[in-house]
């Protein structure tokens, strides 16, 4: 192996190269000067809360997604909580979501006072529309599909289900900025789209941040008030609320980054093609599929792998970072114990949880890095490391 670099000796103690799972520092080096300039402009203005940079980012993000309005908030989780609250969802209501997501997709429902109800996913890692239909009860108020891994959920079918039963749809697009279905961006199908701008996201702040999208002017106008203490003006509080503002400093830096998102997404897709070429024909792993008409942005590159935990150890010894998103499905976490779910309730999710592994995929990952990762995977299964 290591044909790309014959001079490097591979031993267990000293990997030929290291491929960390993420490298946030590298991603910021190129834009450093521009980012610091944006920060300096905020400091010079002395306006650190809301203001022109936040408004400019909101306008630019709305234009990017094709939504009529965008509202900057403090985090992706807050975006989901505010979406539920502005739609009037609270105690006694049920909201259907996927159990294989980050916990935020369910905790937002609990924080709003409503009950998270899970429906199983399909082999696209996203809500199975048939399972959603089965989970609907008279108390269901909304469906909260997650575009997990950056792949759009089946929004056409989910929207139809919601329309037929007058349910709200809140898209958890935390991992999917720029993903499209039939050329329409995620976050614009449902009533509200919720995006995270967390440092590990493709469009990332240097700290926590989130943004919401909607086409409904009334919702937009209420959200602007709800994220800022319910204040319509400095002295007029129309509705008690919390404080969930996108920091001006973060908005200024996000304005520098937003124009690069499409390029970053296509770079990620190019990396997945490299993975596909290298791993093609390897029977022990299943690569993510793609339906026609969808543009997945691969926030994570998740494969199903036989002997997953052994494979991860093998890769780790070779300096390769991997992750599992997520090893314990939400319905089996301690946080969900009061909801009454059990092992076996969501067989697809539970089976995937034991086999999924996320391979490194990020801006700055090289062709050689991927070849190194794939060779290591092949040697694990084929045992011909020499």
């Amino acid at each position: 192996m290591c044909s790309f670099s014959g001079s490097i000796t591979v031993t267990a103690n000293a990997p030929a190269r290291t491929v960390p799972y993420v490298n946030l520092a590298a991603a910021h080096t190129k834009l450093k000067a521009e980012l610091l300039e944006a920060v300096a402009a905020v400091i010079d203005s002395g306006q650190f809360i809301l203001g022109p940079q936040v408004e400019a980012f909101e306008r630019a993000f709305a234009a990017y997604t094709g939504a009529s309005f965008a509202v900057g908030v403090a985090s992706g989780l807050d975006a989901l909580v505010l979406a539920l609250r502005v739609l009037g969802i609270g105690p006694g209501d049920e909201v259907i979501t996927a159990p294989n997501s980050f916990v935020g997709s369910a905790s937002c429902i609990a924080l709003a006072g409503a009950i998270p109800v899970f429906a199983d996913v399909g082999d696209d890692y996203n809500l199975d529309p048939d399972a959603v239909v089965r989970a609907i009860t008279p108390r269901t108020r909304a469906i909260l599909p997650v575009h997990l891994t950056g792949r759009p959920a089946q929004m056409d079918r989910l929207m139809e289900i919601a329309r037929d039963r007058s349910l709200f749809v809140i898209e958890d697009a935390a991992q999917a900025v720029g993903a499209t279905l039939a050329d329409k961006k995620v976050g614009t199908f449902g009533d509200i789209g919720a995006f995270s701008l967390h440092p590990l996201k493709t469009l990332n702040a240097c700290g926590d941040g989130g943004v919401m999208t909607t086409n409904d002017r009334d919702l937009y106008e209420r959200l602007i008030v709800l994220r800022n203490h319910g204040l319509k003006t400095r002295d007029d509080c129309v509705e008690f609320s919390g404080n969930s503002r996108l920091d001006t400093m973060q908005a200024a830096m996000l304005l520098v980054k937003l124009p690069h998102v499409d390029a970053w997404n296509s770079q990620r897709r190019a990396l997945t093609l490299q993975y596909r070429r290298e791993l093609n024909g390897l029977g022990e792993v299943v690569l993510p599929s793609e339906r026609t008409g969808e543009y997945a942005v691969y926030h994570t590159f998740v494969i199903l792998a036989q002997r997953r935990d052994d494979l991860r150890r093998h890769l780790h010894e070779r300096g390769i970072g991997t992750q599992v998103h997520y090893p314990v499905p939400i319905h089996l976490s301690r946080a969900a114990s009061e909801l009454g779910y059990r092992v076996g309730d969501f067989p697809v999710t539970e089976d995937q949880a034991s086999r999924i592994v996320s391979l490194p995929i990020y801006h700055g990952l090289s062709w050689q890095d991927i070849e190194y990762v794939c060779n290591a995977i092949k040697t694990f299964y084929q045992g011909d490391e020499a």
Binding site: A27, S107, D208, L231, S241, G242, N243, Y326, A335
Partner: protein
């Protein structure tokens, strides 16, 4: 600046505070290149320093002062069906935080020092009362020994809203000493201010410290283990970097504000009844987040000062119980006479640490001339 004035006395000082921006940017540059943006070393360092500054064992960095209140109340189990007592003469966030937990805000009138009137608290307690949120409003310190005693007598929690009173003390004890927790804000206009929203919770309870650390971060014990459905309310590393620099200035800022306040007190001491200085308690270190006076013809004075370049303000013209948001709580004009009268007569003067002696004296002279003194 308006025509006719030759001095401008701004309320905000952020342009002066960050005039030397390069040293801050050097720290920011280091952070950006480290990529350590979530709950990393800068946050841990800041929490340790903040705890030490407050003389408390634990400090937990969160997303905002409002979140510090919400997380405190929720972790103590306050929620739907409960009542929480506070005063109506506060920034709306105190009450918003109570409402966000699902509990019902219940008001008790304020006193001469702009804090909750401890005398009246027991009358507001019902079987549903779960907690008291005294606000150390304007940088003063509420009557905590009495409030704590009342809370203990009735089995209530106390969460101190210390958002405006970093470094404030009573009887030599720092704010935060009496409550289960205390909530601080690091909002850009606070005495310890960062470059966006941020907050801190302090507590003496190891158990609450552990729980709050989980609760601010999705309930995650580690990356893969979710122990409770939690919030995402983390002090940004970027803000912690700034906070680590500014925390060293907190004593200077506090002392300068106190000096400015003392000068004002001295200058306006003989203007009663047109200008009335709130009672100053000798056993309290008031840190003057806001320097407020009760004045006659308040709105005229405000216009007069504004026209002369003095950026005076009103905190706040409408008490919380009379805000549209409070409609469903059922309060009416007349329910809280002190808070309501204050809303009509209070004025806040610029008192920040970057004011020059000349600016302070200019403000004094303007007010004296308004009242023909």
């Amino acid at each position: 600046m308006t025509a006719g004035s030759n001095v401008n006395v701004p309320f905000s000082y952020l342009d002066r505070q960050f005039a030397d921006v390069d040293s801050y940017l050097a720290d920011v540059r280091e952070l950006v290149l480290s990529g350590d943006f979530t709950l990393g070393k800068p946050v841990r360092d800041f929490e340790a320093r903040f705890a030490a500054m407050c003389g408390m064992p634990y400090a937990i960095g969160v997303g905002s002062g409002t979140d510090a209140l919400i997380l405190s109340l929720e972790i103590l189990g306050v929620g739907p069906g409960d009542e929480v007592i506070t005063s109506p003469n506060t920034f709306i966030a105190t009450v918003g935080a109570i409402a966000m937990t699902g509990a019902k805000p219940v008001f008790v009138d304020s006193n001469d020092g702009f804090t909750i009137d401890a005398e009246q608290i027991e009358r507001a307690i019902t079987p549903r009362t779960k907690a008291i949120v005294p606000v150390h409003y304007s940088g003063n310190v509420a009557d905590m020994p009495r409030i704590r005693a009342i809370a203990d007598r009735h089995g209530l929690f106390v969460v101190e809203d210390a958002c405006q009173s970093i470094k404030g003390t009573r009887d030599g004890l720092p704010v935060g000493s009496w409550g289960e927790t205390a909530a601080f804000s690091l909002h850009p206009l606070k005495n310890l201010n960062v470059w966006g929203d941020a907050g801190v919770i302090v507590t003496r309870s190891a158990e609450l410290n552990d729980k709050l650390r989980l609760y601010r971060n999705h309930g995650l014990a580690n990356r893969d283990e979710v122990l409770m459905f939690g919030h995402n309310s983390r002090l940004d590393s970027l803000q912690a970097v700034i906070g680590n620099r500014l925390i060293e200035q907190t004593d200077f800022i506090t002392n300068r504000k106190i000096e400015n306040a003392q000068r004002y007190d001295e200058a306006f001491g003989n203007l009663a009844p047109m200008v009335r200085i709130p009672k100053r308690e000798p056993n309290v270190v008031h840190v003057y987040h806001l320097y407020m006076l009760r004045v006659e013809r308040r709105d005229d004075l405000l216009r007069f000062l504004t026209a002369r370049g003095v950026d005076a303000k009103v905190h706040y013209p409408v008490p919380v119980h009379l805000q549209p948001a409070a409609k469903s709580l059922g309060y009416a004009v007349g329910d809280f006479p002190v808070a309501e009268k204050d809303a009509r007569t209070l004025i806040t003067l610029p008192a920040h640490q970057h004011l020059t002696t000349e600016e302070v004296e200019y403000t004094v002279a303007a007010i004296r001339s308004f009242y023909g003194a």
